[in-house]
């Protein structure tokens, strides 16, 4: 293969993989490709997709955010409680505020206090989930008015011109985030800090501020994810988002982002989310139990990361 093609491989491998997965699945199981099921997959993947958009920024700066699942639980709880007592618009504001607050706390710990991001956000995961547990006493919090077709339930359940509305939300967010990451100075700084923090600092980039803002984005997106989650399920628990951080991280890695930082893209992270979502749907349709999904994710994750390593080695002659 010519060097330029090998160089391009990591960039297009995730989309190619998704295309192959979809082709293979729709050839073998036509029912997966039916419109109704496609819409179902789009609805199911909306929440992890929103989280993945934010986490992508953090991963590109070379850090991790394991607290997004717990942030989602908290913000989903806040959405339902506040809309039960005050109203829906303040509820969304509260959910976003929680996400941004926890994100800035993460940013403070990692960027300004210099803590290891894996451990610091792991600690936050535990603290936030614990706060949600103490607050709810482990109970389910349910929306008062389940039947009303309000604009709030439209967020995750409605559709426009046959397209599920959550998919439209994800697309809009992805476009904004993509523009932010790929065309603005902030976006270029994100890549620079992840690529080489020391060199960035010498180029008078405020590396701490860049990492800090990345965490705020990630937290804010998780807050928003909680709103969409609450709209879809209309109920929340302290452990609603447990394990989601690992699914989202797997999706971002599937999208070819390097854990050492400096590479990744919003679009490819969403492709990663879709790969996992399509595969889960197909395995469920085959009537296979839930744990076969875990095995499939394991295999795909390792193979994708391996292809990434091979192509980045082969692409750098000398």
């Amino acid at each position: 293969m010519p060097v330029s093609l090998i160089n391009a491989m990591p960039r297009y491998a995730p989309a190619g993989l998704l295309f192959t997965v979809i082709l293979a699945i729709s050839a073998l199981m036509p029912q997966v490709a039916e419109l109704q099921n496609v819409n179902q997959v789009l609805r199911q993947t909306a929440v992890p997709a929103i989280l993945a958009i934010g986490v992508t920024f953090v991963v590109i700066t070379g850090k991790l955010d394991l607290s997004v699942g717990s942030i989602l639980s908290c913000s989903a709880l806040a959405t339902i409680e506040v809309s039960n007592s005050v109203g829906t618009a303040p509820a969304i504001a509260a959910a976003l505020a929680i996400g941004v607050a926890v994100g800035s706390l993460n940013g403070l710990l990692v960027a300004y206090l210099g803590l290891n991001s894996l451990i610091a956000t792991l600690g936050m995961l535990s603290v936030i989930q614990g706060i949600a547990l103490v607050h709810t006493d482990g109970a389910n919090i349910v929306m008062n008015d389940l039947e009303a077709a309000t604009w709030f339930s439209f967020l995750a359940r409605g559709s426009v011109l046959g397209i599920p509305f959550p998919a439209i939300i994800v697309s809009l967010l992805a476009v904004v985030a993509g523009v932010l990451l790929h065309t603005t100075t902030f976006g270029r700084r994100v890549f620079a800090v992840g690529g080489n923090a020391v060199a960035s600092a010498y180029s008078s980039i405020d590396t701490r501020k860049t990492v800090f803002l990345g965490y705020i984005l990630s937290g804010g997106m998780a807050g928003l994810g909680g709103v969409v989650y609450a709209s879809r399920v209309m109920t929340a628990r302290h452990d609603s988002g447990v394990g989601l951080e690992l699914t989202v991280l797997s999706a971002v890695i599937l999208g070819g982002a390097s854990l050492t930082g400096g590479s990744g893209s919003v679009f490819r992270s969403l492709v990663g989310v879709m790969i996992i979502g399509v595969m889960q749907s197909a395995l469920l349709m085959l009537g296979l139990p839930f744990y076969t999904q875990w095995i499939a994710v394991a295999v795909i994750l390792i193979v994708a990361a391996w292809l990434n390593v091979i192509s980045s080695k082969g692409g750098m002659p000398g």
Binding site: G114, S126, G130, T292, A298, V299, I302, K313
Partner: protein, 334 residues
Amino acid sequence: MSAVERNETLTINPIHRGAIMGRSATWLKKNSIWAVALAMAIFFSLQTGFFLTSFNIANVLTQCVVVALLSVGLTPVVISGNIDLSVGATVGLTACLAVLLQPYGLTVALLAALAAGALCGLLNGLIVEKTGVSSFIVTLATMSGIRGLTFMGIGDVSLSATDDRLNAFSMLALGPVSTVVAIAAVLIAAVGFILRYTIHGRNTFAIGGNRRAAVDAGIAASRHVVGNFVLCGLMAAACGIAMAANLGAASPTFGRDYELLAVTAVVLGGTRLQGGKGGVAGTLGAVVALTILRNGLNLLRVSPFYIPIIVGAVLIAALIIDRKINGNALRHGE
């Protein structure tokens, strides 16, 4: 770097009094978590008379064992610059095997569990070394893969022991020290010995400190890294067996989220996540401190719902304090 420092302290004549003082001061500085554990023990024994009873000490020791086996096994992997997130899943698999295969004889069941643990470690190590994919990603994947295979083989059920001897053996105790605690102590000491006094241990520190330099110095890095993953898998199997023995039962969900407990203990114990620095004593101290904290809070009738908040806050606080004491050592290395 730290391997060199370690050798220097070892060559000092131990008869010299100042050197002994210096060595214990260095040890305490490196393993300050033991001082924290001691302070907590004193605090809780002043707060509640029940803390220092033989029954409660036995309880604390038994609770320590499970996480201690796991975290101590993880320590060499982290020192060599890797991480293993699949240990919790390995605990689930091996606990199930240790119970499921009891009809074929206890020895078969225990050997199968240990072999499965070693195999999981070997798989992790070989994938990491042969593909060059970071161990974080590989073991994130095998974490769900191993868990999925366990569910596939056993189903979503709970297994109960058919052979009472394992449970009966675990009940034997001399004072507060049960047989499980004694065996775990031997295993933990063995890992500590391997890390400090063998060529494999020395090379592990060297690889974690600077892998390229270690390879240039003729160290077969791959072999040592894979070896540490196998060791970690074996210790996870020991943990699974201990859980199965204590409870006389097993289920595929055993050990869920334990990887996070283990990583927490390793880091709190002063092992550096980038590798090259750390030790078993610190990890063990962290496990003891965390267990005393949980136990003490229980005795003071703090709602168990508060425990994740307190443990998470302690973890973050410990990191910040460590950062203040050790200064800017990592600022350029991040």
